[in-house]
């Protein structure tokens, strides 16, 4: 049970950084930390004690596999996380070229 709580603490660290930091790069880092904590939580839930990796080798008779479904979902989520991070970094570098700073308090034109 302690591993679930540690995952949740990692998520909270990311959330705290997301709300309190003022630097665009730090905000992107916080978002990816939150993503990572969710991935590890999903894979932890699907783990079975004494299970083997979900690959059929035919060497063992009547094997127990760990749950392959969360692994397949997390595989999709990792690639989407890469796409999001690349997009955010591209927007950050565009904003830096226009405003010469990463400070979100200085980027006034974003206010609605």
């Amino acid at each position: 049970m302690i591993v679930y709580i540690l995952c949740f603490i990692l998520f909270l660290v990311g959330l705290y950084g997301l709300i309190t930091r003022r630097n665009l790069i730090k905000i992107v880092i916080s978002l990816s930390i939150m993503e990572f904590s969710i991935f590890i939580l999903l894979v932890l839930i699907g783990y079975i004690d004494g299970g083997i990796a979900p690959i059929i080798t035919g060497l063992e008779s009547n094997p127990t596999y760990v749950d392959p479904l969360p692994q397949a979902m997390v595989l999709t989520a990792i690639v989407i996380g890469l796409a999001t991070t690349a997009m955010l970094m591209a927007i950050a570098i565009r904003l830096y070229r226009k405003y010469r700073t990463f400070d979100i308090r200085e980027i006034k034109n974003l206010k609605g």
């Binding site: 049970m1 679930y4 709300i19």
Partner: protein, 175 residues
């Protein structure tokens, strides 16, 4: 097993806290790399080799993109004074955290203890993947056969993101 994972997760938390408080953006990014690469080791310990392979590639690409952005701009971290707005932000973050802790406590009582997961939906997949798809790797069989539309959507997202990055970086902005 649980002890090893706890130590790794503690290490990840320390790396994340350092990444948020580093004075230099380059060291913040390297510290975020600690979190990503520890995740690879966690996946290997949790018997998920496919995820470990994908995560190590994705983490390396992310680090390269971030270092390229930092070297092209500035490494200086902003100087943040504790003003009224910052206090409002910190208290807002604490309120959000308290709400999330409340829901987490409710959710964790419904979860099985670590290592005692029962297969529900996946039991059909585990039994039938080899016969129906001919794939020896269950994760690949689920990803590309039973849930092929998910993978199609993922490829669409990746393509759209690549188009978006190209568009954002190419156009000339108004001064």
């Amino acid at each position: 097993m649980e002890l090893t994972l706890s130590i790794l997760l503690g290490f990840m938390i320390i790396g994340a806290i350092f990444a948020l408080h580093a004075k230099d953006l380059l060291s913040a990014i390297i510290a975020a790399g600690i979190v990503g690469y520890s995740l690879v080791i966690c996946f290997l310990l949790l018997k998920a080799p496919d995820l470990a392979i994908v995560q190590i590639v994705v983490e390396t690409i992310t680090l390269i993109i971030m270092v390229a952005v930092i070297l092209d701009s500035t490494r200086e971290e902003l100087k943040v004074k504790i003003d009224r707005r910052q206090i409002i932000n910190i208290s807002l973050a604490l309120v959000f955290m308290l709400v999330l802790v409340f829901f987490f406590i409710q959710a964790i009582s419904n979860l099985n203890p670590f290592g005692e997961h029962t297969l529900r939906m996946a039991s059909a997949y585990v039994g039938e993947t080899a016969a129906k798809t001919g794939s020896a790797n269950l994760v690949t069989g689920i990803l590309f056969d039973f849930r092929g539309y998910d993978t199609l959507g993922e490829a669409t997202i990746l393509f759209t993101a690549a188009l978006g990055v190209l568009t954002i970086l190419r156009i000339k902005g108004r001064k």
